[in-house]
C-alpha cells in the first residue's frame, strides 16, 4: 500500500514506537499510584515523555496534559473558556473538533478569514473580528483539508494585545512546524499524538497556560481524601489510569521526530508535496487546491468524478487517500467545496518520490480510463 492519508494518522510508524508500546505493556504498571518498581518506573516513563513534549513545544512539564486525542484536548480547552452564548472567533478552516463543541455550547461563532492561502487576509479578518466582546479565539495551525498554514503566531499577538484567550489546534502541524507555548502565549494548544508526532492512536496532548476544567473526574493518585478534583496540573485533567503504553510509544515517536528535526521533516514533506503539485498542476481535468503557505496536505477534485470514486480508483491501485469533507465542513465552505468534497492526499516522512510518482500516474490515467462510466458530481 502507498499510504497518503497521513493527515488522518501516520499509519506507518518508526519501529521504535511499536517496540516502546510492547515494552511498556510488559514492564509498566499504573503510574502515580503504587510505590513498587513497576509503578514507579511507569511514573518515570510518563514524566520522561512530559519532558520531551515540554522541550519540543517550550512548555513546563506541569503544563503538559495527556489526552486521548486532539479532540479531547480541544473539548477541555473550549469548555474551560466558553460559556453558552459567548462570542467566539474562529478561522474559516476549523475542524468539527472545534465547531461541534462550540455548537453544543450554543456559542456565538464568528468566522474570520475564509480566503485560502492568504495569511494577510486571514490576519486582517481576525483583526476585524476580535472585538471587546469576544470571549475566546480558536484557530487551527494548519487546515486538515487544504494544508493552509494559518498565521497563528500573529493571531496570538492580537489576542495578547486585546487580552482575549486563545486556543490553537495543532492537529496537522505538531511535529512538522515549530510551535512554542511560551512565545505564542496561547492559553491552550491541543494536538494528537498519532499524526506528526508518530505515536500510537489514542494519544493526545493538551498544553495548558492556565487552569482548566476537567471533562472527567476521578482518581488521580493525589489529594485522595478530597472529593473535589485537584486544581493543579497535570493531575486536574488526568483522572483515571493513564494510557502508559500509548504515552511511552508517543515518547518514542517524539524521539524520532526530535532526532530528525522538525525542520528536516517539513523540508522532506515539502519536497514530496511540491512534486505532487508540479505533476498535477497542469492536468486539464484536475482541480488542485494549492498556494503559498501550504504543507503536507493536498486537496483536489477530478472533473466529472465523485471524489469518493476517485479515492476508490486510487484504492484499487493500492493507494490510500481520503475523500469527502474530512470532518471539516467549515473549511469546505470556505474553499467552495462543501457540496462535492475533495480528495485529500497527505504525505508523511515515510513516503518516497517513487510513491508520489505512482500516485500521479494513476491520476493521470483516470480521465481516459474511467471518467465516462463514473457518476457525475452534483
Amino acid at each position: 500500500m502507498i499510504y497518503l492519508d497521513n493527515g488522518a494518522t501516520t499509519f506507518q510508524k518508526p519501529p521504535q514506537v511499536m517496540e516502546a508500546v510492547a515494552y511498556a505493556m510488559t514492564h509498566y504498571a499504573s503510574p502515580g499510584r503504587g510505590g513498587y518498581p513497576a509503578a514507579m518506573e511507569a511514573g518515570g516513563a510518563v514524566f520522561a515523555v512530559r519532558e520531551q513534549i515540554g522541550e519540543l513545544f517550550d512548555a513546563a512539564v506541569e503544563q503538559v496534559v495527556f489526552t486521548t486525542s486532539a479532540t479531547h484536548g480541544l473539548n477541555i480547552a473550549i469548555k474551560s473558556l466558553v460559556k453558552p452564548g459567548d462570542r467566539v472567533v474562529v478561522s474559516g478552516f476549523e475542524h468539527n473538533a472545534v465547531v461541534r463543541p462550540l455548537y453544543a455550547l450554543d456559542a456565538d461563532i464568528q468566522v474570520a478569514g475564509q480566503k485560502l492561502f492568504d495569511q494577510t487576509d486571514t490576519l486582517n479578518a481576525f483583526d476585524r473580528a476580535i472585538t471587546a466582546d469576544t470571549n475566546a479565539v480558536i484557530c487551527t495551525h494548519v487546515s486538515n483539508v487544504f494544508g493552509y498554514v494559518l498565521p497563528v503566531e500573529r493571531i496570538a499577538n492580537l489576542c495578547r494585545q486585546r487580552r482575549v484567550p486563545f486556543i490553537i489546534d495543532a492537529s496537522q502541524s505538531a511535529g512538522i512546524l515549530s510551535l512554542s507555548l511560551q512565545e505564542t502565549g496561547a492559553d491552550f494548544v491541543a494536538m494528537p499524538g498519532h499524526k506528526g508526532l508518530y505515536g500510537p492512536q489514542g494519544t493526545g496532548i493538551l498544553l495548558c497556560n492556565r487552569p482548566a476544567k476537567p471533562l472527567l473526574e476521578g482518581g488521580t493518585g493525589s489529594n485522595s481524601r478530597d472529593f473535589a478534583m485537584p486544581e493543579f496540573l497535570p493531575d486536574g485533567l488526568e483522572a483515571g489510569t493513564q494510557n502508559v503504553a500509548g504515552i511511552w510509544g508517543l515518547g518514542a515517536g517524539i524521539g524520532f521526530v526530535a532526532g530528525l528535526g522538525v525542520d528536516k521533516i517539513r523540508e522532506q514533506e515539502g519536497i514530496l508535496h511540491k512534486k505532487m503539485v508540479a505533476e498535477l498542476y497542469n492536468h486539464p481535468n484536475i482541480r488542485l487546491f494549492t498556494g503559498a503557505n501550504q504543507i503536507g496536505v493536498l486537496s483536489f477534485q477530478v472533473e466529472g468524478m465523485d471524489c469518493q470514486r476517485v479515492a476508490e480508483v486510487l484504492g484499487e491501485a493500492g493507494i490510500a487517500v481520503r475523500s469527502g469533507l474530512h470532518c471539516a465542513p467549515m473549511a469546505h465552505q470556505s474553499g467552495g467545496t462543501l457540496e462535492a468534497g475533495t480528495v485529500r492526499a497527505s504525505v508523511g516522512i515515510f513516503n518516497t518520490m517513487e510513491e508520489i510518482g505512482a500516485f500521479v500516474k494513476v491520476l493521470q490515467k483516470i480521465p481516459q480510463g474511467n471518467r465516462q462510466k463514473l457518476p457525475i458530481t452534483t
Partner: protein
C-alpha cells in the same frame, strides 16, 4: 535526624524535585508518602539523608519545585514535621 521526607502534592511535582536533586548529585529516593504524612491522601515524597535536608530544600526552592512539607525520621519509629 536519620532521614528527611520532602512531600509533594503530585507525582509530577516529586519527579521535578527528583530531577533537580539528580542534577546536583544529591542522593535521594522517590517514594509514596507514608500515610502519616499524607494528610490529603495519596502523595509522593523524596527521602534524603538528614544532613542533606538543607541543600535539598535550597535546590527545590531555587528550581521552583514546590514541596508541601518536611518530616524528620529520628529513628524512633515516628515522623515529626520539620520547619526550616
Amino acid at each position: 535526624m536519620l532521614f528527611c521526607y520532602i512531600t509533594f502534592r503530585s507525582i509530577t511535582g516529586a519527579q521535578l524535585g527528583a530531577k533537580l536533586l539528580n542534577r546536583a548529585g544529591l542522593n535521594h529516593l522517590m517514594m509514596r508518602s507514608p500515610q502519616s504524612m499524607a494528610k490529603n491522601g495519596c502523595g509522593y515524597a523524596l527521602r534524603v539523608k538528614g544532613r542533606d535536608l538543607y541543600p535539598a530544600v535550597e535546590l527545590l526552592r531555587q528550581g521552583n519545585a514546590p514541596y508541601q512539607k518536611l518530616f524528620g525520621d529520628y529513628g524512633s519509629g515516628g515522623m515529626e514535621e520539620v520547619a526550616l
